[in-house]
Symmetry: D2
Subunit: 344 residues, 4 copies
Amino acid sequence: MLVVMQATASPADVERVCEAIREMGYQPLPMPGAQLTTVGLVGNDRRVDGSHIEALPGVSEVIYVSSPFKQVSREWRQANTLVTIAPGVTFGGPDVPVIAGPCSVESEQQIMAAAHTVKAAGAVALRGGAFKPRSSPYSFQGMGRDGLALLRRAKAETGLAIVTEAMDDEGAQLVAEYADCIQIGARNMQNYSLLKTVGRMRTPVMLKRGMAATVQELLLSAEYILSEGNDQVILCERGVRTWDPSSRNMFDLNAIPAVQKLSHLPIIADPSHGTGVRDRVAPMARAAIAAGADGLLIEVHPDPNRALSDGAQSLFPQQFTELMGELVSIAAAIGRRIATLDTR
Amino acid sequence: MLVVMQATASPADVERVCEAIREMGYQPLPMPGAQLTTVGLVGNDRRVDGSHIEALPGVSEVIYVSSPFKQVSREWRQANTLVTIAPGVTFGGPDVPVIAGPCSVESEQQIMAAAHTVKAAGAVALRGGAFKPRSSPYSFQGMGRDGLALLRRAKAETGLAIVTEAMDDEGAQLVAEYADCIQIGARNMQNYSLLKTVGRMRTPVMLKRGMAATVQELLLSAEYILSEGNDQVILCERGVRTWDPSSRNMFDLNAIPAVQKLSHLPIIADPSHGTGVRDRVAPMARAAIAAGADGLLIEVHPDPNRALSDGAQSLFPQQFTELMGELVSIAAAIGRRIATLDTR
Amino acid sequence: MLVVMQATASPADVERVCEAIREMGYQPLPMPGAQLTTVGLVGNDRRVDGSHIEALPGVSEVIYVSSPFKQVSREWRQANTLVTIAPGVTFGGPDVPVIAGPCSVESEQQIMAAAHTVKAAGAVALRGGAFKPRSSPYSFQGMGRDGLALLRRAKAETGLAIVTEAMDDEGAQLVAEYADCIQIGARNMQNYSLLKTVGRMRTPVMLKRGMAATVQELLLSAEYILSEGNDQVILCERGVRTWDPSSRNMFDLNAIPAVQKLSHLPIIADPSHGTGVRDRVAPMARAAIAAGADGLLIEVHPDPNRALSDGAQSLFPQQFTELMGELVSIAAAIGRRIATLDTR
Amino acid sequence: MLVVMQATASPADVERVCEAIREMGYQPLPMPGAQLTTVGLVGNDRRVDGSHIEALPGVSEVIYVSSPFKQVSREWRQANTLVTIAPGVTFGGPDVPVIAGPCSVESEQQIMAAAHTVKAAGAVALRGGAFKPRSSPYSFQGMGRDGLALLRRAKAETGLAIVTEAMDDEGAQLVAEYADCIQIGARNMQNYSLLKTVGRMRTPVMLKRGMAATVQELLLSAEYILSEGNDQVILCERGVRTWDPSSRNMFDLNAIPAVQKLSHLPIIADPSHGTGVRDRVAPMARAAIAAGADGLLIEVHPDPNRALSDGAQSLFPQQFTELMGELVSIAAAIGRRIATLDTR
C-alpha cells in the first residue's frame, strides 16, 4: 500500500498518516519527492484495508500495489493448473476442448440431436441449461431436474462430458450429481454464498465473468472458490456490458492474455454470448483461439429457428461443423490442438 | 414486437417471418415502407421470445415495443406504492426518510454510538451490515447473527427502524427475524433464487441496482419479487460502473425520474457508494433530494478513521448533522419534507 | 512516478529500472517491501513519460502520482477563477448564471421569441447554435454566419449575453466577433488545434466534456487553452456515454465536486444533453444546482414540437419559467443565488 | 421511423402524432396492437428528425428503422471497396497489408532503423507520427514537417508506403504532400470540419474509431468523407474506453464483422492501442486476423525502452518478426494472405 500525499500536505499530515499505519500494525516508510510525499507501508500481507487513510487530511490517494489475490495468482503457483472434467477433457494444457450445445435443454429429442451433432463435429463436451437465469420472471426458466436427467442420458449415449449451470446451493448439489462441471453464470459471479458452496465441493467449476466485472474481480471471485478448497476452476470470458447498441455485449479478448499472465487457472471464451449474433460467432471463435483461449463454449442448436432461448446466437449444425474445421487450422498455427474424444 | 426487414429482403423473406410469427400463435402485420418493410406482431402478451426470428434471412432487427415488466409498471398500478418498514417510516409518499449508519456492525459500542448519532441528526432508520459481500475472501465478512442482535438492541434503545443486508436464503430468514427491511445488495441483484425467496416473505425489501444493471434490468429484478407476492419493494440507485478513475462509481441520478415514470415503486439513493469519497457525499445527497429521490441511504460512522470497511466514504457525525440541515431546506424547495421520528 | 516491481523480480530487474530512471535524468529511490519492491522517482516535473519502463523485465506497473496538469490545478491557483462573459454574467462566484435558448438558431422569429422568453424567466445568457456538429452529414448543419447575426440582434434587443459553438479555427474567429463566449463542443474536446486557437484568443471559452472523457482528460484539455494564455475557461458537464438505453447519456454530477476540488475553474452543467428527455431536465437541473454547479445551460424552445433539432429535450417556455422558480429556492438552500440581469 | 405509443395513449394522442407526421410531409400508418399502438411513417428518406415527436403526449418511444448512412452502406455498394494507398498496398481484398513502425518519428536514425526492420519482417507500409495528439500540452508533440520529410526519405529507401496522422486542415495538406494515406486519429473522429477537408482531397484516409464511438457513429463519420467525394476510406478499430483498469482500452473485435456486414469499406485493427501492453499485442494481432481484419497497424520501435511515446506497447523488432510468421499461418487458415511487397 502506498499513500500519496497532496502537494500541499503539511509535515503534520504526513506524520498522521505514519501514525495510522503504525496503528494498523505496520511500519510506515515516508518518501519525500520534489512535488509531493509518498508513504509506503512495509509488511503488507494483503489483508490491509486502508480506506480510512484515504480520508485523512492531506491524503490524495491510496494505491494498492500488492495484488489482492493469493491462491489464484501465478506467484502462488507458476505452472498452469490443469482442470480435467472428464477423462481426456482437460483445460489448461496444449489441447483446447470445445464445449457445445443448446442454450437450454428443451426436450429429449432436442438434446439428443444436439449431442450427436456437436460430437460429430468434434466437440468433447455438451452444454445445455436445466436451470436458466432469465432477466424476466416470465421467460422460460428451464426444465430443472428433468433437464439434468436428459443431459445424463446424452452423456451415456455419446460419451460427451456435461457442463451445466447451477443458480443456488440446492441446484449445485443436483448439478454435481448429474454433470461433470458446474457452471456459475455471469449474474452469480459475486454471489459469494454460492461460490463458497461450490468451493467446498469437489466437482470442477466453470466461473463466468460478470456483466461488468473487471479481470481483478473475476480472479477474486475465483479466489473465493479456491480458498474453500476447490482448485478445479475454469474461468470464462463471455462478453461484457457495452454502450454500443451494435452488439449485445463487448467481447473482451484482451482478458485472455491478461488472465493468463496473472493466474495459473485456465480461461476459455464464449463467443455466442460474447457477440449475441450468429454471424459473428465464427469470426470471434476463431479470434479467441488465435488469442490463446484454453477452450471454447459455443451455442449450437439442431433447429435454431425454434429455440426457446438465444435462438439468434445459436449456430446451425452445418455452421458449427465448418467452424470446427477452421479452428483446427488456427490452433495448429499457434502450436496448439483442438481436443478430440480420440485423444482420451 | 416489430421485425425490421433489411432493405434487400425479398417477399419470400417477409413471408417466412410472417409464418414464424403465426407459428408462435400470433398474427403478423406487414407494413411496407419506402426503403424497407416492417412486420408487426399483434396480440403480444409480453411472453414473446423472438430471438430466433432475429436470425431469419432478410431480418435486420427485432424491436420489443411492449415493456417486459408487468406488476412493477405504472400501467399496472397508477398510484405510488407506499412501503412502510416501521410505524411512520414510509417510502413513496411526500415525506423522505433518511437511513443512516455505518457500513458494518463492528461492536456494541460502535453501533450504539452510531444509532444515537444518526437519530439525533434526524435519521429515521439505521443501516449497518452483519453479512458483508466483499470482493476478497480475505476482507472482513461481518459479525453475522451477533451483528443482527446488536442492531435489534440499537432499535430498542433508539426507536430507529433497521435495514440490513442478506446474501442468501438462510440469511434472509435471519434478517427478517431481526430487522425491518431486508437489503439485497448490488452483487445479488440478479441472484434470482434469492429474489424469489424474499418474494415469498412479507418483510419489505430494498433492492439495490447492480453494478452495471440497466433501469430495465433493475425493474425486472423487482418483478421477480412482486411476482412471488411481495410488493413491499424499495429500489435503490447506488452508483454504477464507470470508466472514469476519478470516481469509485458513476452516480446515475437520471435513474430516479426514469424509474418514477416507469414504475409505482419508490426509489431511494445511496450517495455514499454513489461517490465513494466523503467530500462528495453531501453534494450528491443534496442532488438526490433535489432530483426527487424517495429516501436516502448514507454511511455515517462515529469514528470513520477506524472503520473496518468503507472508512473513506463514511461521514463524520458532525458532517451528517450539517447535511441534514441542508436537506431539510432542499426538500422544502420542491414541496417535500424530510421524514422525522416525530411524524410517527 | 512509482514503479511497482513484480513479487518475482530479481535484484537485477530492480537495478535495470533504477538505471532507466537515471538515464531519464532523475534519481531512483528503491523501496523494498515484504512482498515486493517499489522504486520511486525523485524530481518528477510532470513531463516524465515512463511508458517504456512499464515494459522492462520484472516491472508490474507504473503509477503516476503527480497530477499531470499545472495551470488548471488548485495547487497553481487556490482561489476560484471568475469568468465574466458580459457585465454581470460571472461564473465561479456565489451567483449562478443560467444560459438558456434553443439548440439551433432557426429563424429571426424563433430566436427573438426564445430570447424574450428566457429573459422573462430569469436567464442571463442566450444559447443557440449557428454551427451544428451533427453525427450525420445529412442533418441540419446550422445557419452559419446568418445565425450569428441573429444572435447579435437578440443580444441588442434583450441584453442577454451570447454563448454559441465554434467547430473550427475560422468559426472561432467569427464567433468571437459576434458572441460573448465560444463554446467548444463535446466532439471537439480533444481537437487540440482548435483548443490552441481559442487559447490564443481573449474571448471566454466554454469547454464541454467529451462523450467519454475522464475528469482528468477534461482538465488536460482546459490546460491546452490556459497554456496558450487564455484563462477564461468555463467547464461543462453534459452527460457521458452510457450502456443503459433508458437514457441518452449518463449525467455525471459527481464531476462537479470532483472538478471543484482539483481545479479553480468554474464548472456548469447541461441537463438537456445530460438527460436527453424533457421530463428529466427539471429534476436534473435542480440536482445540478444542489450539487454546487456554477451555472446551467438549458435548452428552451418557443415551440419544441417544431424544433429542427433536439426537440425532445427542449423545455416549453412555461416549464422553464416554473423551473427557474424552483432553482431560486434550491440555490438559497445552499447559500447561493441564481444570477439575474438586475445584479449587473 | 416508428412511433411507439404508451399503453395509456388516447385516440387523440395517436391522431396528434399522425398529424405531426403529415406536417413533416410524410404519411402516417397507425398499427393498433393488443397492448399499444404503433405509428409508422411511410416515405422516410433518411433525413427525418423526429425528436420533437418523442415528446408529444402519449408517445413512449421513437425508433429509427432505416439506417442513417447512405454511401458507406452495403446497400449502396454491394462489393468491397478496395483502397489502394500505393502500388500493391490494397485494403479490402484477399491480401492483408500490415502497417508497422514507431508511434512517433523521433530522428532520422530511428525512423530509418524502424523502416528497414519492419520491411525485413514483411510489413508493406510504415507508420510514424509527425503530428501527435497528446492528452497533455506538455508531452512531446511530434517533429512536424521535419518528421514528414524523414518519412518520405524512409519511403525512398525502402519502398514502404507511408501512413501518418493529420490533426487539422493545414496538417492534412502537408501530410498529403508527403504520405500515401492520411490518418485521422480517434480524438478527431467527430471533427467534422477536418472530415470534410479530407473528403475534398484525393488521398486515401484511414479513419480511427473514437474513444467511445459506436459502430454507427464511426460509419457516419466515414459518410462525411464520402459525401464530399473521397471514397478511399479505411476504417480502424483501435480499442475503446473501458471501466476495467486491467487494460488501457477494450479491443472490440466484434466491430470487424459488424462493420463488414454494414459497409463495403475495409476495416483494419490496431492491437497496439487496442491493448496498450506489449505482451498482449501479439495475441490480439493474431485474433484480429482470425476475425477477418483487412489489415493491421502495429507499433514497432527499434529500441522501445528509449521511445519518446508509447514505449510500453511497442514491439521489439524480434517480436514483430516472430509475430509476422504466426500471422502468415493464421491468414492461410482462413483463406487469406498477408500482403507482401513481392506481390506488387
